[in-house]
Amino acid sequence: MNENIKIAWRNVWRNKRRTIITASSIFFAVFFAVVLRSFQLGSYDHWTKNVIRAYTGYAQVQHIDFWDDRSIENTFDYSDELHEKIQNNEEIESLVPRLEGFALGSTGDQTKGIFLIGTDASKENQVTKLADKLVRYRFTEKNIQQLLVQDLFSDALKEKIQEQKGHAYATFERIALHLEIEEADYDAYKETLEKATKYEGTYLQANDDGVLVASALAAFLQIGVGDTIVLLGQGYQGVTAAGKYPVRGLLHFPSPDLNARMVYTNLQTAQTFFSCKNRISSIALNVENTDDVSLSKTVEELSNSIQDEEITVKSWQDLNKEMVQQIQADNSGGILMLSVLYLIIGFGIFGTVLMMSTERKREFGVMVAVGMQKYKLNIILMYEMFFISSLGIIAGILGSIPIILYGYYNPIRLTGEMAAGMEAYGIEAVMPMMWFDTYILNQAIVVFALVIVSIVMPAIKIAQMNVIKAIRG
């Protein structure tokens, strides 16, 4: 073994207590930082992916005024040429043309403002997994009564079931969440609940002239699968728009706002309704490389290739400015907190390096007197700090692994107001942790940087050391 490494290693264990204290402080800092970052970055990732998946896609091609005014006038011609230009970009994985506009939905007595989205149903499903929102379970007065007579449910659970009146769900997991049924008890209730609440809807087929209606809207209008909805509105350039459409299925949106007004049709159906053949308001895009740098490059490339004053290309960040700002603010808060933590740890490291060099002045003096170059003392000191900090870093990272693994696979489920708030944004109310990524390495880099900064002053002292004085002690 290298002599300097050997000396350094033994010195590390010369004062075990100090080494362990220093390594422990680094351990706590790294552990805390990794766990905190994993939570933060995991949440951001979750929020953004949800928003991207729920509606916007990674980027959108839009009419230039559409984002501020979602009028049917702010649409553009979806030419083959435009389609080609977008499709030809290698980064584009899938694209969904949409025509969007306001209308009134009516079923005899009840009328309500709705937001109509005409889309390519199968492509829409590729990008936003719309079919997953199809209502498969519904709690009506009738099937609630049917459930309440069962002995299977406790009184508390029956109370919760009663509260479900009018609610619709796309998955059993969400029913369980709202009824507060533990995962372990799924098997006990699943069959009974599913059987009683089962709701048969179908997703839009190609060339389907039907509609999918958001579940709260459907409840308000008192319609369901097999019924017909009448849509009324103003079409392109002031033409009156009117049509009658069969309901194929209901959609459940976590966001109450969306759940109260969304209606989906095939693109052609909407184009016919609004009398704007071949026009669309936006194209949602999914890209190959989703990182910020690649995405902004793709957005720029698309803008350059489309070259149309009427059309703009926006990334999901542009489309969700408020969320991006919130994330940035939250993120700088987290980083500030860690900076303070690392500052404190840095002073600890500095203190240790200083002690390790000053208390060995005599020894250093003898080593230089008999012929060791001074820079080698710094190398030894560097190795010593490398060992101590690595010990802390490795322990910190190892310690955080089980927590990250657990938090990744079993994200914390939020409840109460916080959960409601997130769901209102269309975000599933969970806090998953971030999978292992560079943020972990960054903590190690920060600690090593602190070590290097801490070693500067002792290094200067060694360079200026007077051998005779050092030996005299």
Binding site: R362, E363, V366, A369, V370, G371, K374, I468
Partner: protein, 228 residues
């Protein structure tokens, strides 16, 4: 053969208000194989003189010539290298690197000189046996007595095959028995291996063993006697 030639050596400490003339014009030569003691009262300039001789301190004036090399002109890392290759040191105390065993301490300087492992091994063992520590080779300094530590220091000083060994009051912290053992070892090495030893002391028993006694007072040599 002349090993060291010192001409008109001066050292003045000029730190703060008082000027201290620690060495005031020393002229001396040392021959290969000498066993010389520098004696004199405390504060007479022994340590200052030996430090300059060993290239640990720079003279204010004068010349030190070691085997043709003008040491008084050397500085920095070149001087450190010169010490490593040419001079053996034994200090008053705390000579050894605490985390290294006796053998590793002896090897330390040979590593600096980039000797091969086999060479280091055999030489370190040989030298530790010569100073009577063949059975303590793997002990750390903290497990050795003061006298044993000084013997390891002598072995280390010898390990680098220096032109001479400087020892500033090597027995100052030792009891009389350890002092005698250390001196006997140094004397034996001097006689059998022709190693040049220059040491300072104010211990009469140590002075007795020396074959040349240089007496210093107020930074000047007042006598230089050789015994046959």
């Amino acid at each position: 053969m002349k090993v060291i030639e010192v001409k008109n050596l001066h050292k003045t400490y000029d730190e703060g208000e008082v000027k201290v003339e620690a060495v005031r014009g020393i002229d001396l030569t040392f021959e290969q194989g000498e066993f010389a003691a520098i004696v004199g009262p405390s504060g007479s300039g022994k340590t200052t003189f030996l430090n300059m001789l060993g290239g640990l301190d720079t003279p204010t004036k004068g010349e030190i010539d070691i085997d043709g090399v003008k040491v008084h002109n050397m500085k920095g890392s070149a001087l450190i290298d010169f010490r490593m290759k040419n001079i053996g040191f034994v200090f008053q105390a705390y000579n050894l690197i605490p985390v290294l065993s006796a053998k590793e301490n002896v090897e330390f300087i040979m590593r600096l000189q980039k000797m091969t492992k086999i060479e280091r091994d055999t030489r370190a063992e040989e030298l530790l046996k010569a100073v009577g520590l063949g059975d303590r080779m793997n002990s750390r300094p903290s497990k050795l007595s003061g006298g044993q530590q000084q013997r390891v220091a002598v072995a280390r000083a010898l390990a680098s095959k220096p032109k001479f060994i400087l020892a500033d009051e090597p027995t100052a912290n030792l009891d009389s028995k350890s002092t005698e053992t250390l001196l006997d070892i140094m004397e034996k090495l001097n006689k059998e291996e022709n190693i040049t030893f220059i040491f300072s002391t104010h211990d009469a028993r140590v002075v007795k063993k020396a074959r040349r006694i240089i007496t210093v007072e107020d930074g000047k040599i007042i006598s230089d006697e050789r015994k046959s």
